[in-house]
């Protein structure tokens, strides 16, 4: 079997395979153009009489759970990434599989982290044949250099939910590490040593996987409240000494930036939103947990306070900054997809207006609507943007995979998407003639804010008009590109082979671009 075949040019002019890892895939057809019909994927019918009447689904250990779940060659194993770099469970699953001599597994995480570099020997010896999920650090390097058996598939958080719901990916065993659970399998992320806030990324896995294993280090008697994951979906429960390393679960990087250049970008972003009327009483925004995004949130807070306004809601990965705004009354609700620090976790536990969400509510392509398109202002990062506003978030300009898509593609559906990014990083200009990997078509990106000027997508005539007398440094994207190249010099094209190592999915499950093998 070829790793991939049948290349075609898709709607954004990228060559993509339509046969990958022996499965058929559809090339990107344009935003909102692909509408599958038929019925959603249905998991196998289960019967309650097959489960203990006393509700006790505890088994001895993870290995026993995996054996009972029928672990065998070629299966798809899913995990979630709420523990981030403090995850202790995903590695153990594959340690066990390796020890049992199982081969050819597909790992389907909602994201991977540096701690998962532990899995590289298993990718080398065939225990794992491929990863369908984000790959960065050592895993990104491994895949980028063409060492993975299968083709990597990168999906957004919403795209992962879509792939599970329409049956594109059928999970054999979902392993859900949980900060708190009861023997019935009810689980949550708000309590326990490994408290991570919520378990929304595991929701689809719990509902659609053939077998579901909940692993916890904080086993409480029934009922574990709140039941973010419902035990009614769960086959086995495992008690371990530790599911995650708390200090690595709570990301240490969620501080407002101290970099004067990034603060300037944040300030320009906020001033742009203020002067073009994007911020108003009752507006909503999505801000990430990066230093610049947090700082933008602070500036938004100042604008709200000054005008005596309130934001209706923040879509967040939450931490102490949005939580403080909630407490101060600057915002009415936090709709939270993941918590980045203990203030976020505590607020979710205690404040009814701090609500946990999942890719189903926020991003799901097969839902009857989702929240993403209701958000007024979305602030995101990118590794590269081209002169047509197409953007890249997964590869570095040298071709290496370095980020997952996360919720990035999904949040682009907000009313105005702004990318606050430095004009160059370590000499490398961010604005290119062509992005290395196209993760979003330019029509989805409205504004680029750099420390040296702001470029507005020509499609947004309204914003161009409103920004006219703002006194802000509005430039064309071409001018920004030329400015960066005048400083840095014109970069060469990276040396990439024509061999595909991974593909990028759009939110609807079609393939928007291919990732090529890097020549060392």
């Amino acid at each position: 079997m070829k790793k991939y075949d049948n290349l075609v040019k898709n709607a954004v002019g990228r060559m993509v395979p339509t046969q990958i890892n022996g499965e058929e895939h559809i090339p990107f057809m344009g935003v909102g153009k692909y509408k599958p019909t038929g019925r959603k994927f249905g998991p196998r019918i289960s019967t309650c009489i097959d489960y203990p009447e006393d509700g006790n689904k505890l088994v001895e250990n993870l290995k026993e759970a995996l054996v009972k779940a029928g672990l065998k060659d070629g299966m798809t194993i899913s995990t979630h990434h709420h523990f981030r770099d403090g995850d202790l469970i995903a590695n153990q699953i594959f340690d066990i599989a390796h020890e049992m001599g199982i081969k050819n597994l597909r790992w389907f995480p909602s994201a991977s982290f540096p701690c998962h570099a532990h899995l590289i020997p298993y990718l080398e010896d065939g225990t794992i044949s491929r990863i369908e999920g984000s790959m960065n650090g050592a895993l990104g390097k491994f895949c980028s250099e063409g060492k993975m058996d299968g083709i990597g598939v990168l999906r957004s958080h919403g795209g992962r939910y879509q792939a599970i719901q329409d049956g594109e990916v059928q999970i054999d065993i979902a392993v859900i590490a949980a900060p708190t659970a009861d023997p019935f399998g009810n689980a949550n992320g708000v309590n326990g040593n490994a408290a991570c806030g919520l378990l929304g990324f595991a929701l689809a896995d719990s509902q659609y996987a053939d077998k579901v294993i909940v692993v916890t280090d904080n086993l409480v008697p029934f009922p574990a409240i709140p039941w973010q994951i419902q035990g009614n979906y769960v086959d086995f429960v495992v008690k371990v000494d530790q599911v995650g390393i708390p200090e690595k679960i709570i990301s240490g990087t969620t501080q407002v930036t101290k970099s004067p250049d990034r603060l300037l970008i944040a300030e320009l972003t906020a001033r742009f939103c203020e002067s073009t009327g994007l911020i108003y009483d009752g507006f909503s925004y999505q801000a990430g947990a990066g230093g610049t995004a947090l700082s933008i949130g602070n500036y938004f807070g100042e604008i709200l306070r000054k005008n005596n306004w309130k934001a209706r809601f923040i879509r967040a990965g939450s931490n102490k900054y949005p939580v403080e705004m909630l407490q101060e009354g600057l915002v009415e609700y936090i709709l939270d997809g993941q918590s980045f620090d203990l203030d976020g976790v505590k607020s979710m536990r205690e404040n009814p207006n701090h609500v946990w969400t999942s890719p189903f509510t926020s991003y799901n392509y097969h839902g009857k609507g989702n929240f993403a398109s209701l958000v007024d202002v979305v602030v995101l990062g990118a590794t590269e943007v081209d002169v047509n506003f197409n953007a890249n978030v997964v590869t570095h300009s040298d071709g290496y995979l370095l980020h997952g898509i996360g919720g990035w593609q999904n949040t682009l559906f907000g009313k105005t998407t702004i990318l606050p990014i430095p004009l160059f990083r370590d000499r490398i200009p961010i604005i290119r003639d062509e992005v290395t990997t196209l993760c979003a078509p330019g029509e989805m990106i409205d504004v680029i804010v750099t420390e040296r000027g702001i470029a507005i997508n020509p499609l947004r005539k309204d914003l161009i008009e409103k920004a006219k007398n703002s006194g802000l440094p509005i430039k064309t994207i071409q001018e920004l590109k030329e400015e960066a190249e005048a400083i840095c010099g014109v970069p060469e094209k990276p040396r990439l082979s024509d061999e595909i190592v991974a593909v990028i999915k759009w939110v609807d499950g079609t393939i928007i671009d291919s990732v090529y093998k890097v020549l060392p």
Partner: protein, 408 residues
Amino acid sequence: MDNITGIAGNKGKGVSSDAEVEFQSTSKGGIEIQIESKVKALYGNHIHKLAEDILRFFQIKNAIVKIADTGALDFVLAARLEAAIKKALPEKKKEFLLPMLDENLNGSKKEAFRFSRLYLPGNSPKLMLNAGIHNPNGLILDLEDAVALEKKHEARFLVRNALRNLRFYGAERMVRINQGERGLEDLEYVVPHHVNLILVPKCESAAELKTVDEKIQALRTSNNIEHPVWLMPIIESAKGVLNAYEIASASENVVALAIGLEDYTADLGTQRTNEGTESLFARSMVVNASRAAGIQPIDSVFRDVSDMEALAENVKRSKALGFDGMGCIHPRQIKVVHDNFAPEEGEIDQAKKICIAFKEAKAKGLGVVSLGSKMIDAPIVKRALKTIDLAVKMGKLEMDWESKEIEK
């Protein structure tokens, strides 16, 4: 011939936009260039070619060059390689210069605003690249305190190249030279490359400053430089304070007199406080001497870069004492300094009234200006006119405010 090696530049943790270059002069084997760079995929060939050009320029036929690059721009790479070559082969006297940016050819005016001037360590390219976008009135490439002794040589090449090729975004291009003989040598690296202003540290007498000024004038003549090179002496000792006026009036090129309080308080044997009681005399002396000489008095830097409120208080005190500006050691301080040196709303309103009254009195041929029942003295009128001028220049007042005022 033995192999001789010269090393220049920085690498290691926390370093970016820089390069460490090791140049080894060899007697045979031709040129060998080894590049290790995080931007190699995109700029590897470019860096290689630049290194070749520089070696050819210095007529070097045999050498091993090792470049450890963290995203350095060309002017940085060129400075590092030239410094490394000259360390190994001091007999090489030519200078490798990249074409000067047109925008760096502008001169500065004697009376230019000098509210803020941002210090940049002269051997740290990373901090230089974006400094100008924070809009300070001046950018100081510092060869003195911010550069370690063993880095003094290489910093000169970097500062020289920065004067030519760094973007200053309209900020006045300043260099702080070293004290004494080393400082005079520094001038050779900066005066021919369109520096606008030289800061002379730890200045204690007019004679010292005159030596610097004479060297500058000699360099201007030999390099056919037409634009002025201004001087800002820094008073940093008890003796300097007592000689403040003679220093301030030592040359017509002196445009401002600054005070450096860290060294001054050390000289007094006291501690620097936020309130600044210990330096009140010195600061008042500097203000007084500057005003007497018709130049700008400039205050010391504020050390706590995280406390913007304390900085704002400090600027207000400084302005109240009569200073026209202050040094900055972090880009975020610039806006606070500008905002607090700028005239306040109430000040502007009062000045507007006085200005209008003054013009009316003049039109009527009256010798006395009055506002309501109050007589206004000439110095107050003068200050009001200056406030208006400042408010307009800082964008706090529209140019045509008067016609609008009259419409009301």
